[in-house]
């Protein structure tokens, strides 16, 4: 349905952002916010990657004294914290924030201002950690800061508190983003998109967001307990005062294990979308894929003890967690089966996004197999805290999440920018990154088995580790070079790429129905869906009309059957998310130094929230919804 000019003008008027800096600060356009998330995450990816290269250079020669222990410890702490809290999860949230309304044919998320707030808070977390680094107050106790090392006696000062509060920032931001995604997916689907007709991508984002909501509180709790121990002398983790050091580990990993699946499950959504489009057939085993995602989401909460196999917990309990940890390979394996089956039985087109899927399968399966090894409570006693497990988690995180993310970036780039990325340079970047990564991290399996522990700034000569470390450094450098090519491709294609139409890949899902780049209002009509692949099955898309054009409105539908229920006013640009984020930032930063900041900080937050929720006068509705084809 081609919208007429008058319709577009009226939509543009209702959905435009204020100009300039004010527009930048007040926008609630989910696409702009998601773009910010991605730009910040990519920048941090490079910063953390540089830290990694620094560490790799340090480890390339035995007894290297270039980096002292303090600097090295800061480097791996910053690298891990950044990659896990500030890059991976936010990047996945950003893709959800950007794609969910588009894929649902809606004009915005369920809670637009909450989306803006979540970005500002995330930025607060980024600045907390990285400005601290610039001021040489970098946390240096690893990305999971176990007490008593992170307790008040052995970690004096505020470095550990900065880390703990960075976590609080990012977890609140993640909770906000997740609530937004869940509400949108469950209540704002286009009419006709029953749960059975919902693409796998949306299932993945739904499950990942639900997992976030259930697991993030654990880490917020445990980092708050750590701050309490440090700031107000509680005894949570003081064994000689009836506290327990293991309490930290249990609570941390109760979050920590679902966290890595929160990173992985959206990647399965990306892979499903890309495979369906480029195999040019409907996904084989849609139900299996959805059930697998649900199974992984549930199972992920029952595995956390496998991070604690060397702690000395009762053996029978450890065996249970071995079985559970290995069991999660079943749904993951079935997903791989379905994707390969789809590729084999379609007319597969090996464009760059599809290449990334191939890289994902080749790499992630290796990571999964090394994961099965570390899942064994017995064998893990040799493998944990060595370079073997470093290799394992990089294989699953980079292979299993980063590669699909790069593929998704190439895949949806035309929709976001209206241009195509260069296929040639995309292939170069792919080869460098995948080849470099495998060259860099495969030797680490052997290094771990040969006894090299993690988190060591140097190692003695004569251990036989030198050559493998040098190969790892070379591979990592190649991968980073590939990353630079990738980013250069993205930047240059923005202005010089071939123009892409609405649907350059011939994809089946709704986000490809509108223009490229998507206008602020996404689609001019509300689509009506009657299959999993609407753009393939109907030559002309059925639409519904009735949502207002003069003001911001979205359609709310029922949870299971997506029957339209009512029209909902959608929030306009507002400064309150930014102001509220500033208030929350002030409170979080203040509570690093004094507990009174929590009381004092509550007042500005209350003021900001009052402004945010100040009631607006309801406007009259315009008329009933009707179907138009």
């Amino acid at each position: 349905m081609t919208p007429d000019l008058d319709r577009r003008d009226r939509l543009a008027l209702a959905w435009r952002d204020p100009p300039g800096w004010w527009g930048f600060l007040t926008t609630v356009d989910h696409k702009r916010i998601a773009a910010r998330y991605i730009v910040t995450a990519v920048l941090l990816l490079f910063l953390a990657g540089l830290l990694a290269l620094d560490m790799r250079w340090q480890l390339s020669w035995a007894e290297n004294t270039r980096m002292g222990p303090q600097l090295y410890n800061e480097s791996f702490s910053l690298h891990g914290s950044t990659m896990l809290f500030l890059v991976s999860v936010p990047a996945m949230e950003a893709m959800a924030l950007w794609l969910v309304p588009l894929m649902l044919g809606q004009r915005n998320m369920a809670f637009p201002r909450l989306g803006a707030f979540s970005y500002w808070l995330y930025l607060g977390g980024v600045l907390t950690l990285w400005v601290a680094h610039a001021l040489d107050v970098t946390p240096d106790l690893g990305w999971f800061e176990y007490p008593p090392l992170s307790g008040p006696t052995y970690a004096p000062g505020h470095r550990a508190d900065i880390w703990a509060q960075m976590i609080t920032f990012t977890e609140v931001a993640a909770l906000c983003a997740s609530v937004n995604v869940v509400a949108t997916i469950l209540k704002m689907r286009p009419p006709g998109m029953t749960l059975a007709r919902m693409p796998v991508f949306l299932w993945a984002m739904l499950v990942a967001s639900l997992m976030t909501i259930l697991s993030m509180p654990a880490i917020m709790l445990v980092t708050s307990m750590l701050i309490a121990d440090r700031l107000v002398s509680t005894h949570f983790f003081a064994p000689a005062a009836h506290g327990d050091v293991l309490l930290f580990q249990h609570l941390f990993w109760f979050f920590g294990h679902p966290e890595v699946y929160i990173i992985f499950i959206p990647a399965t959504g990306f892979v499903s979308s890309i495979v369906e489009t480029f195999a040019r057939r409907r996904l084989f085993g849609h139900h299996v894929l959805v059930l697998a995602i649900l199974a992984i989401g549930c199972l992920a909460f029952g595995l956390w003890v496998h991070h604690m196999f060397a702690v000395g917990l009762p053996r029978l309990g450890n065996d249970f967690y071995t079985a559970a940890s290995m069991a999660i390979a079943v749904p993951a394996g079935l997903q791989i089966f379905c994707w390969i089956a789809t590729i084999a039985t379609g007319r597969t087109w090996l464009a760059t996004p599809m290449l990334w899927v191939l890289g994902f399968v080749a790499t992630f399966v290796l990571g999964g197999l090394s994961g099965v090894m570390t899942a064994s409570a017995a064998l893990d006693l040799q493998l944990t805290d060595s370079y073997f497990v470093v290799a394992h988690f990089h294989y699953v995180l980079v292979g299993g999440a980063m590669f699909p993310l790069f593929g998704a970036f190439c895949y949806w780039y035309p929709k976001a920018t209206g241009r195509l990325m260069s296929e040639r340079w995309g292939r170069v970047a792919f080869a460098l990154i995948v080849g470099g990564f495998n060259l860099g991290f495969a030797p680490m399996h052997l290094l771990g088995l040969m006894g090299m522990p993690r988190r060591v700034y140097t190692y003695p000569a004569g251990m036989g580790w030198d050559a493998l470390n040098q190969v790892a450094t070379l591979g990592s450098a190649i991968a980073v070079a590939g990353g630079l090519v990738f980013v250069a491709n993205a930047l240059l294609s923005y202005s010089r790429g071939a123009p892409a139409g609405a649907n350059p890949w011939g994809a089946p899902t709704l986000e490809w129905a509108g223009d490229s780049p998507s206008p602020p209002w996404n689609l001019a009509y509300t689509p009506v869906v009657d299959s999993l692949t609407p753009l393939w099955d109907s030559p002309v898309l059925r639409v519904m009309d009735g949502v207002a054009l003069e003001r911001r409105e979205v359609v709310v539908t029922s949870v299971v059957d997506a029957a339209p229920l009512y029209r909902q006013k959608s929030a306009s640009p507002s400064i309150w998310p930014f102001v509220a984020a500033l208030a929350v930032t002030a409170m979080f930063l203040g509570s690093i130094f004094t507990p009174w900041a929590i009381a004092a900080g509550a007042l500005p937050i209350a003021a900001a929230l009052t402004g945010w929720f100040w009631p607006q006068r309801e406007r009259a509705t315009t008329g009933p919804l009707r179907v138009r084809s």
């Binding site: 064994s376 052997l446 040969m450």
Partner: protein, 331 residues
């Protein structure tokens, strides 16, 4: 099996080594190595199958690249029905493979703890930042014989390591002999090790414990039971009281933290030095034990192991020389 595995690493002088899980020299490490070998085989098969399936899928994609609308409704339905029959097979294969591995892991785990029921020689190992305090039960007086940073094990006998921590979490790991176990403040963990092959091994702390986690290593010697008893007897014997300049300087400058049994030095804050010169390494595996290194370590500990708790003691060159000479006599 081991030879085939070692053949995989051509660049090095073997995947074996003094700190290698691939070169088991003890019962526990051997059980884990067998489990690892089984897992490598299973993983190898799985990876070949997946890579093969993917390659086949790509081959089909290449072969049918010109075909138009191969995936039309009816044909897709037939293909999907056949694939749907393969799905339970795939699930079954995965479940079968995992069951094999879970069972093998269970039995390996039991093997690691099989010796727990029987009595064994107890050795207390306590992790400090960044050194190991090792205490043997004195069979004669039932007191404790204390040494540091070097563990001797009798060949063929099970030794029960009683692992504790004095400050933060550490982890005891000697890959050639057994898996690792954490040393956690507030917990006492027991690790049974049964060393089989004579020789020297190296262990290292495997839980990040602060600035010098990288230099918290342990020398382990596996010797015949007779040699072990002789060593323990030698360790039990106090040092002969010395009357030289070195001993006098030691008493003033070092005895606050270090102990030399028999010579009147009783500090517990640092490693016991009663038989320091008989050890193979210095500063928890950072330096080889030589007279020169002893003097160098005393003179410039922060330069060798930055952040170490060993203070920089201001000694005149003559005094430093004397102390190093004295310590070198403590065999």
């Amino acid at each position: 099996m081991k030879a085939r595995l070692l053949a995989v690493c051509p660049l090095l002088h073997g995947c074996g080594g003094v700190q290698s899980a691939l070169d088991p020299g003890g019962d526990q490490a051997r059980a884990l190595f067998s489990l690892f070998a089984l897992m490598m085989w299973v993983s190898g098969v799985v990876y070949v199958v997946v890579a093969g399936a993917l390659s086949w899928a790509l081959w089909r994609a290449w072969r049918y690249r010109g075909a138009d609308s191969r995936a039309d409704g009816g044909m897709t339905l037939r293909i999907d029905r056949r694939l749907a029959q393969l799905l339970p097979l795939a699930a079954g294969a995965i479940i079968l493979g995992l069951t094999v591995l879970i069972t093998a892991s269970f039995f390996a785990d039991r093997a690691l703890f099989a010796t727990r029921a029987s009595p064994a020689l107890e050795v207390r190992v306590t992790g400090h930042q960044w050194w190991w305090r090792i205490q043997y039960r004195d069979p004669v007086s039932y007191g404790w014989v204390e040494t540091a940073n070097e563990l001797h094990l009798p060949q063929g006998q099970t030794v029960r390591l009683v692992l504790g921590a004095a400050d933060v979490i550490h982890s005891f790991w000697v890959p050639n002999v057994a898996g690792k176990l954490d040393m956690i403040p507030g917990r006492t963990n027991l690790l049974d090790v049964t060393a089989r092959r004579l020789g020297w091994y190296r262990g290292q702390c495997a839980e990040f414990c602060g600035t010098q986690h990288a230099h918290m290593a342990l020398a382990v010697k596996v010797e015949s039971p007779a040699a072990f008893r002789a060593w323990l007897a030698a360790q039990r014997a106090p040092a002969t009281p010395a009357a030289g300049r070195g001993a006098a300087v030691f008493q003033v400058a070092c005895a606050a933290c270090h102990a030399i049994r028999g010579a009147g030095a009783a500090g517990r804050a640092g490693p016991d030095l009663t038989h320091v010169a008989a050890r193979r390494s210095l500063a928890a595996g950072t330096l080889t034990m030589t007279r020169g290194n002893l003097q160098g370590w005393i003179a410039q500990p922060q330069a060798i192991k930055p952040g170490t708790s060993m203070p920089q003691i201001p000694l005149t060159p003559a005094d430093a020389d004397a102390v190093a000479t004295y310590l070198a006599t403590l065999r």
